[in-house]
Symmetry: C2
């Protein structure tokens, strides 16, 4: 018997050894707790689960809890109605056991999606209650409980109440119907439209689980450069199949709507939002949509931007367009998310254009419309000041649009943890209603008491086995969800949580890798666009440096438009002497940004054309400071490499090698950015690279000669 057990033990051991850490499991690995004391603690406190009712959502929650607990604790967990010491009792406040412990008043405070996790005594048994007003809150509570174990927290006296700050917590997929992904760097779209609706890929389910685990409750399936075909019956059937997969996980499906769909699939000659036929088309389309998907979320719209059709084609306003769609969706409870990312090819500073177009429309949108604003005024650069629309449209719920896919931050090759970028924006004070009017308070609707609120991340998910291409890019997906739920979490807390769940709770590991994650974004800023430089990347594909580029069909697609380097200096003068973009900010902010002395150096070249000889706080002149930043950025990647090398024996071999290889590429590309930019700006400054710094290995013409005809992520709207 013992011998047999040992044989089986060894057999199973080799089976586990063969299990690859390929990254597919994301932060939901549920591997056995390795700390013996902790394992004992968990086994004492959790022995069974009790779910009080069956619904799709509760079934999903129970399945997750069972799978997670059994994996983490390496023992069978029974699902039973009997209450015993260590029962996890999960259900809504209607459950009689639960309501005898937690009052419905207390539960009601958690709203429609929050939850309570609480250690309690019930008839002499010590139990853990997971409760909420609705099933979905119970689901979130179960994921939160699992997270406690995954991050090795004590669970003997739990008393947690958690309520999401933002209502719509979303991913936007820029996925095309031909499965290419615009700005996708992790393979192709995970939506296999061809095999839908008949074939439900396991990925769809695991995607929903991952989203629910961080509270994401809405997904836009298709590219904002939209294709009307997705609104045709053949595709709605496919969309409905996905919606059915996501429903048990509390996730609603949204679609990007092409504004000219009435022409393309409706046989109309116009898409004018004030045309009765167009209105009827959208009403019918909405009715049809809801017949397929009763809980359809609504439309995301990119209109009159970068060639997309929109209401301005008919001399109507964005509000006219949005409200027309909103009216169609309203009877069904749907919403419209209208993007503010617009700029015309005119003479005004591109920075200013979204504000110019949208600010005057404040108060003109229907009550089921949100305006979705990118975090910064240009386009997801490594660092941008917060978008001036935040705080400038008090009557309109403004939704935040972050970008998870690293279009401008090294694709899926560079390790760049974005939570610090997100936090920098969310924490920025707009002064819209005086000091303390942070962007976050506009986004969550609290500053103006909006009913709707939302935060979206442009997805970095693709068909790569590890979902995001870079193992660490998973952390950006995770961070978006966590911050949308609770933006008061620090980047460090999020990194800590994610690392523990995704890799290991080992302290040596955390000590080495967490700082690397937290510094990574600033490092990227330094080797790409320090001191407020922006939009220096290659044309169209956005890969690598091309500050010299000036051949785009539109001036404001050229890097030279943004840096304006000349022999006198560098930077975009957005003070009243220049484009006066700063006037779009509250006067407190405008005063700060507008004065070269008070402007934080990290934003300096966003707002000022600064002489090369300008003396920086460090005592170096601008040219020197720029060089030091670029070199520091590249050197810091070498530091990241050393940090990673130090955990070689702590982390699994497969992911260790992956990250090591990727850091190797990141190092090369950081030097490429550094050399290309320094050599290019040197042609204006005419000054030497400080003597302490190594010389670039190649001449500028070499960097200019590089071309990348097949760089990934160039979309289209197929």
């Amino acid at each position: 018997m013992i011998k047999k057990a040992v044989v089986l033990l060894v057999t199973l051991f080799y089976a586990v050894l063969l299990q690859a850490e390929d990254g597919y499991r994301l932060w939901l690995r549920y591997d056995s707790i390795t700390d013996a004391a902790l394992l004992k603690h968990y086994r004492q406190n959790i022995t069974a689960i009790h779910f009080d009712a069956t619904s799709q959502v509760l079934n999903a929650a129970a399945a997750e809890l069972l799978q997670g607990l059994q994996g983490l604790m390496g023992q069978e967990i029974v699902q039973t109605n009997a209450i015993q010491d260590g029962s996890v009792v999960a259900g809504t406040a209607q459950n009689k056991i639960i309501s005898s412990i937690i009052s419905t008043e207390e539960t009601d405070k958690t709203g429609k999606e929050g939850f309570i996790i609480k250690t309690a005594m019930y008839k002499g048994r010590k139990i853990i209650v997971v409760t909420a007003t609705r099933d979905v809150g119970v689901l979130y509570g179960c994921f939160a409980l699992l997270r406690l174990l995954q991050t090795n927290q004590q669970i003997n006296t739990l008393n947690i109440t958690s309520v999401p700050k933002v209502k719509l917590r979303m991913l936007n997929h820029w996925d095309n119907l031909n499965r290419t992904v615009e700005r996708g760097y992790a393979g192709m779209s995970i939506w296999n439209w061809h095999k839908l609706p008949g074939y439900i890929d396991q990925r769809y389910i695991d995607y929903a689980r991952a989203n629910a685990s961080v509270g994401i409750n809405g997904v836009v399936l298709n590219n904002v450069n939209a294709n009307a075909v997705i609104l045709s019956p053949a595709y709605l059937e496919k969309v409905a199949a996905l919606a059915a997969v996501f429903r048990p996980y509390g996730i609603k499906v949204y679609l990007s709507a092409r504004f000219s769909a009435p022409i393309e699939i409706g046989n109309l000659e116009t898409a004018d939002p004030l045309n009765a036929g167009v209105q009827a088309f959208w009403q019918q389309k909405a009715d049809e949509l809801y017949s397929y998907i009763p809980d359809f979320g609504g439309f995301l719209v990119k209109a009159n931007s970068e060639g997309q059709p929109g209401p301005q084609n008919y001399n109507r306003s964005h509000a006219d367009g949005a409200n027309m769609l909103a009216a169609a969706l309203k009877p069904h409870g749907g919403i419209v998310i209208w993007r503010a990312f617009v700029y015309n090819n005119n003479d005004d500073d591109r920075f200013k254009q979204a504000y110019n177009e949208f600010q005057p429309l404040d108060g003109k949108f229907s009550d089921n419309v949100l305006v979705q604003v990118k975090n910064g005024p240009v386009d997801f650069q490594p660092r941008e000041p917060f978008h001036p629309l935040f705080g400038a449209m008090p009557a309109t719920p403004l939704m935040m649009e972050f970008q998870l896919t690293q279009e401008y931050l090294g694709f899926s090759t560079h390790l760049v943890f974005l939570a610090p970028l997100f936090k920098e924006c969310l924490d920025a004070d707009t002064y819209a209603k005086g000091k303390g009017s942070q962007v976050a308070k506009i986004v969550d609707g609290s500053l103006e008491q909006h009913v709707l609120s939302g935060m979206a991340g442009v997805s970095n998910i693709g068909s790569d086995i590890n979902w995001t291409g870079h193992p660490f890019a998973q952390a950006n997906w995770y961070a978006l969800g966590r911050l949308a739920w609770d933006y008061t979490l620090s980047a460090s807390e999020i990194a800590d949580e994610w690392l523990r769940q995704t890799f290991t709770n080992d302290n040596m590991f955390l000590k080495a890798v967490k700082p690397m994650m937290l510094d990574s974004r600033e490092i990227c800023v330094n080797y790409m666009t320090p001191l407020g430089l922006h939009h220096l990347m290659g044309y169209s594909h956005h890969y690598g440096p091309a500050p010299w580029y000036n051949k785009a069909e539109r001036a404001d697609w050229n890097p030279v438009y943004f840096h304006k380097a000349d022999k006198n200096g560098v930077g975009f003068d957005r003070t009243p002497k220049g484009s006066n973009a700063i006037a779009q900010y509250n006067t407190v902010i405008a005063g700060k940004f507008g004065n070269l002395k008070s402007c934080d150096e990290q934003f300096m070249l966003w707002f000022h054309h600064v002489p090369w000889t300008h003396m920086m706080q460090s005592g170096n002149n601008l040219w020197e400071a720029l060089c030091y930043r670029y070199y520091s950025g590249a050197d810091s990647v070498a530091w990241m490499q050393r940090q990673w090398e130090s955990v070689k024996n702590i982390v699994d071999e497969e992911r260790f090698k992956q990250v090591k290889m990727l850091l190797g590429i990141q190092k090369e590309e950081a030097i490429w950015w550094r050399n290309a930019c320094v050599l290019y700006f040197q042609t204006f400054s005419g000054m030497q690279i400080p003597a302490a710094l190594e010389r670039p290995g190649k001449i500028l013409d070499y960097y200019k000669s590089l071309s990348f005809p097949y760089a990934p992520g160039i979309g289209g709207n197929q």
Copy 2:
């Protein structure tokens, strides 16, 4: 101690439970043997491994053997120089232990890639010898030994000698530089060009392992609709990185060469093969290629076919073009594989054109050129007669081109095991040198004593986690490798091997699933193109039925060109009264195909325009027989569904569900094919569908109205 062991046991058990059967591991799963008696048998016969030398290839072999044996036997296997009972002694014939057991003369008979596996006594120890003349043979022997265990064979008295029949055993990837795959239905290209050479995806290694396990020794990385950019230094560096991954697995890299590359990347104004500058370009390019990849295999060329450039652009022959490239590669030991898949938009039967162009060139190709011929004369249809070039070019080594990706057989959605299709062609007798001149003997070079021989499969591999989209499509990759090694294997033997390794050795499972696999191709023929119909699929994307289609820019891209249905009958008259394509065959074959009475009914409509009222062997007329075939095909998919349902409790849940869903789609699509084709041909026959058969659910116009703008697999040469 016991308690701790039990706890660990349970812990590991749950860890194993969580391991997904996602199909990634292909047929190399190496899960523990579940049959206790068998496990004991293996543990008695294998206890350690002894590798006599280190080389990249032997290291790969040793690692695979260790991983495989430890997984299968669930115990540690030591690698030691000491010889003990149960040692596996692996090495070339130079090894002193081995040469004391097996004479070098005996080993020499296995050639450059074959191997011997033999049970032997050495100094009183019972050992297993795995030997070959070269390291790669030892690698193949190790995979063969693992296969014995995976398929639950006895291993106590082994005496196996295995020698590949075909020298070049290849996969052709139709993968583009932008990672789309022409006729790819399993995601995007597994070659992540953007991240190469710095990032080596684990997939590359596992791909090489899988290929080596079935003896595949060459891969063409890029689409035959080629892009010259792959020959530029930036890409050669990436190609070299892949070659380095494949080298330890005995796999050489080949590239599809674009014939006009001298113009596109060589700054020349011509690609004329007789132009000295062009010749110099290719010589330099070859030198450069071999400086990156010393063991580069050679070029695959699609020229003057479907818009590709070629020597005919300059009034030169295919031989002129091929020989020019061959001369450039010759000093380096490289070869040219020149495709015979050509057809012009002229008045002659497309069936005949490859023969017309190539047969006269027999004897004109250099000795390092092979001509690669598709199995049939049109294009990878569900059933084709063998290509008339086989047997017609005795002086030229003809390489076989099969298609693994199911362009015309249901994409990656239909379960169609292709070994019966491959075997049907390989076993066909060409009568080229009298009876017994099977296609296989031309392909292996034995009929004419050619030095070169080859068999290629157009890859069905993509970025899907399970590699091939359909779990069963893996079997077609497997079958290609196994048949290229030994075409005398039966389809049943191959299915048996593959099922045991990929799923389970359970007899109930094999009894239910093997017949389903073996019949699947005939079933597909029946519901798509029975009785010799061909090329009835949708235009361009080739998805679904469109026998009515007649709008293509070229006549021979239209289904109506191929079936020629009219009120009198259906089928393409290729007898002397028609296009006389049969004259391209040996007179014995031509006599058989050319006579409606002797022509096998399964090829009938390939060669004859047959009246609807023609009496078939069954006693039904042609129209009725056609209906019965179509209905039988669709009904047989329902039988496949039942067979699969019967193994529900034997197979893992994940793959059970996947195949079940895919069979569901296959059933629907089989009915779609049936209904669309029967309704369409009925418009010509004017006869009723036999009363016993159910009526189609929709009218013909419905089927004609379907459109699929985003069906997968439409390529391009980006």
